[in-house]
């Protein structure tokens, strides 16, 4: 747990969210300089019925950078990801305790509407899940339900800019009205990212976004993640340590429902403090 109290107290002011232009430098050496914290989790315990899936997880996730969660299957990293936009609410037997603060507000607080929260915290899933609608309608879905556009022109503009930011515009601009399910896997995943961007979230959660994709599509998504980091706080769960090393500035290692270690990515990979982390990244188990 590297960030100290002072860096946190700075980040609780929402107006400070997008202050500096020097984030890359800041996040690269997060351990020392302390970036502004976007999400701060403390004492998170998650239960599926009787079974406890997460134990006392505490982590700070910085603004405008990529944080990756790594760890063996079933270690709880996806569960924790789903706590951050309260997707676990949709599972009836799931119970979450502890505090997850986003810009200082507890997302589990009764005053927080999960529906509004999820508009601020977008999510991309393991398997591309475009809706069975046209490419245009897929991207327009969020803006429509949240009333972000007042007219057709405005909606068109949102759709175009979202597709552009997801690096998909050039490939689909001439077939916006064709079904999104007809795209290739990699294109579908970028479509889903565009769909998430379109509602203007602050955080984007990605749950193994490349595990169903071939290496070329994966490279494109990784490139995209690197670009998006300038605008969003991105959290990515991945099974590929190479991917974590490539795209993320900070890495957290989960094991058996516990957060073992987190810190700057290059430090975790070159100089892990915990022997379990060491074993995992050197491929001795996992």
């Amino acid at each position: 747990m590297t960030p100290n109290g002072s860096s946190f107290s700075r980040s609780v002011m929402p107006m400070n969210r997008d202050d500096s232009a020097s984030h890359e430098a800041a996040t690269a050496s997060a351990a020392t300089s302390g970036p502004s914290v976007k999400i701060r989790a403390r004492d998170i315990n998650v239960f599926y019925g009787e079974k406890q899936a997460l134990f006392d997880v505490a982590i700070d996730i910085p603004e405008k950078s990529v944080t990756s969660f790594i760890g063996p299957s079933g270690c709880g990293k996806s569960t924790f990801l789903r706590c951050m936009n309260r997707m676990n609410d949709t599972i009836p037997i799931c119970r979450v305790t502890g505090a997850i603060e986003m810009d200082g507000e507890d997302v589990n607080d009764r005053s927080i509407d999960p529906v509004v929260l999820r508009a601020r915290v977008g999510m991309v899933f393991q398997k591309p899940n475009p809706f069975p609608k046209s490419i245009y309608e897929n991207v327009a879905y969020g803006p429509r339900i949240h009333g972000l556009a007042t007219g057709k022109d405005e909606l068109d503009a949102i759709v175009e800019s979202s597709l552009r930011r997801a690096g998909l515009w050039d490939e689909v601009s001439d077939r916006l009205l064709q079904p999104g399910t007809g795209l290739s896997g990699g294109q579908q995943q970028r479509l889903v990212i565009a769909r998430a961007i379109a509602v203007g979230p602050e955080v984007i959660l990605m749950d193994e976004p490349c595990s169903a994709l071939d290496p070329i599509a994966t490279a494109k998504i990784e490139e995209l993640i690197d670009e998006l980091r300038e605008q969003f706080c991105i959290v990515i769960v991945t099974h590929s340590m190479a991917q974590a090393a490539r795209v993320s500035q900070r890495t957290a290692f989960f094991h058996m429902g516990r957060l073992v270690e987190s810190g700057a990515t290059d430090e975790i990979f070159t100089n892990p403090r915990d022997s379990r982390t060491q074993d995992y990244i050197t491929g001795r188990f996992g």
Binding site: N85, M87, T90, P92, V115, V116, L117, R118, A119, R120, G122, M123, F125, K127, N129, P130, F131, P132, K133, Y141, G142, I145, H146, V192, R195, A196, V199
Partner: protein, 480 residues
């Protein structure tokens, strides 16, 4: 009697063949089943099947068709005395001759002495045929049993693949059963088409399908057969359509919404209560719905409309008031509403399955965008499930069209060309029932009209079902 003995002997021989086959195979392996290709029982079963089944099939065929063969032989040469008889009397004569030969009860026909002599002669002839036929059958069965045994038993040894051969028999049995189903269906269709052709030879199809005057009772009179205009089935189609539409107006929304509730909103507890209850509703016999409609819903609706009519009397809508005042128990609305209630569980359980098969990933995607449950259902789940739901609706429509008891009891019998739900109407199925109940001649246009209606009904529901199943299948392929 002889036949029963033959069956018992055949069973005993099969049993014996089983034991012998099993024993020989075991012996060839030195009494150790582990050294054999198949379990010992398979060897026995294999021999027993070849011994028993072909002979049994032959016996079955001879029992089914033996009587006809005898009849054909018997009628081949007819004594001159029969020439004075009419065709029906001749038929009766030969039937009596066969009955006499087999010691069955004769018909009530009275025969003159010289006729009686001819009958006795024919009877002894028939007896000869029967005996010859029976003996021939038994002899042939014996040959089959022996051939079956000789073809299989000598081949048995421990390496013989009896298990695979028996598997082939199982395969054949299963196929035979499905062929029975298909052949029966084809037979029904053929008889339907055949009788309909007879009907359409006296009433033109155009008149039948487009005519607006339905009164088959008048059509019975000789001077009016086919030319009375009494076989215009359009009012029946209209009535069927009207009742079906009313039923779908009830079953469609209620069934679909309850399916949405059950699959998306209901917790496990509510689901555990509602789902079985809906299935009980599906298990109520339609005749119960029928008298529920006729005795409970009908009077309630009539009273409701009558007193509603009372409110309009004397006002500017006096006419409407008078009309509502004389509405009766039997009306399309009652039949349609009750039929709709009957269809609710059907629509709901089909839609429930379809909605459940929409991948959870789509819901998660929508929730993760910050959509509420109803937005997710309305904009993602339902559009994804729409083709399947359309298929479910089409299946429900084809059930509504074919439904009989409720409309028979609650819709009335008058063939009126109307779309007013408060009128009594009649449907295709109701008319088939009324045409064929009671004593009927089966060659008058009146009864044949039932086949014409049946064929039309069959064609419509067949097309609906094919379209519906196509849609449902296509939809299923999309996500599997």
């Amino acid at each position: 009697m002889l036949t029963w003995i033959a069956i018992l002997v055949l069973a005993a021989l099969s049993g014996l063949a089983f034991l012998m086959g099993r024993r020989k195979a075991l012996a060839s392996a030195g009494g150790s089943p582990a050294k054999m290709h198949s379990l010992p029982g398979y060897y026995g079963t294999y021999v027993a099947l070849w011994v028993g089944v072909p002979a049994a099939l032959l016996l079955f065929v001879s029992i089914m068709f033996g009587g006809r063969l005898e009849h054909a032989l018997l009628t081949a040469n007819q004594p001159p005395i029969l020439h004075q008889l009419s065709a029906e009397q001749k038929e009766l004569f030969f039937q009596d001759a066969q009955a006499l030969a087999e010691g069955r009860q004769l018909s009530e026909a009275v025969y003159e002495p010289n006729m009686k002599v001819a009958l006795d002669a024919k009877a002894s002839e028939a007896k000869g045929y029967v005996n010859a036929f029976k003996q021939g059958t038994f002899a042939l069965m014996g040959v089959l049993v022996l051939a079956g045994f000789l073809a299989t038993f000598p081949r048995l040894n421990k390496d013989f693949r009896a298990r695979n051969r028996v598997e082939g028999w199982v395969d054949g049995l299963l196929m035979a059963c499905s062929i029975v189903a298909v052949v029966t269906t084809l037979g029904i269709i053929l008889s339907l088409v055949w009788e309909s052709l007879r009907f359409f030879s006296s009433v033109s199809p155009a008149e039948f399908l487009l005519g607006t005057h339905w009164s088959p009772q008048i059509g019975m009179r000789d001077d009016q057969v086919g030319s009375s205009g009494g076989f215009g089935a359009l009012p029946l189609f209209a009535g069927t359509f009207l009742v079906m539409m009313i039923a779908m107006c009830v079953a469609g929304p209620v069934g679909l919404f309850s399916a949405i509730y059950l699959s998306e909103y209901a917790g496990p507890k509510a689901r555990a209560v509602f789902k079985p209850l809906l299935e009980i509703l599906a298990g109520v016999p339609t005749v119960v719905y029928g008298f529920f409609a006729a005795l409970t819903v009908g009077p309630i609706f009539r009273q409701g409309f009558n007193s509603l009519g009372g409110l309009f009397l004397g006002g500017p809508l006096n006419e409407l008031g008078l009309y509502l005042g004389q509405v009766q128990n039997q009306m399309a609305l009652v039949a349609g509403v009750v039929m709709g209630i009957m269809l609710i569980p059907f629509v709901s359980s089909l839609s429930d399955d379809i909605i459940n098969s929409v991948p959870q990933a789509l819901r998660d995607g929508s929730y993760a965008m910050g959509a509420t449950k109803s937005e997710t259902v309305k904009k993602v789940v339902l559009p994804a499930a729409l083709p399947g739901i359309a298929g479910a609706f089409l299946l429900a429509i084809s059930r509504a069209i074919g439904e009989t008891m409720i409309v028979t009891m609650a819709a009335g019998l008058q063939a009126k060309l109307t779309l007013n739900p408060l009128e009594t109407v009649t449907t295709v199925t109701v008319q088939i029932v009324t045409l064929l109940t009671g004593d009927q001649e089966f060659d008058s246009p009146k009864t044949l009209a039932a086949f014409g209606l049946g064929l039309t009904l069959f064609a419509v529901t067949l097309v609906l079902n094919i379209v519906a199943l196509r849609i449902v299948q296509k939809y299923r392929e999309q996500y599997d």
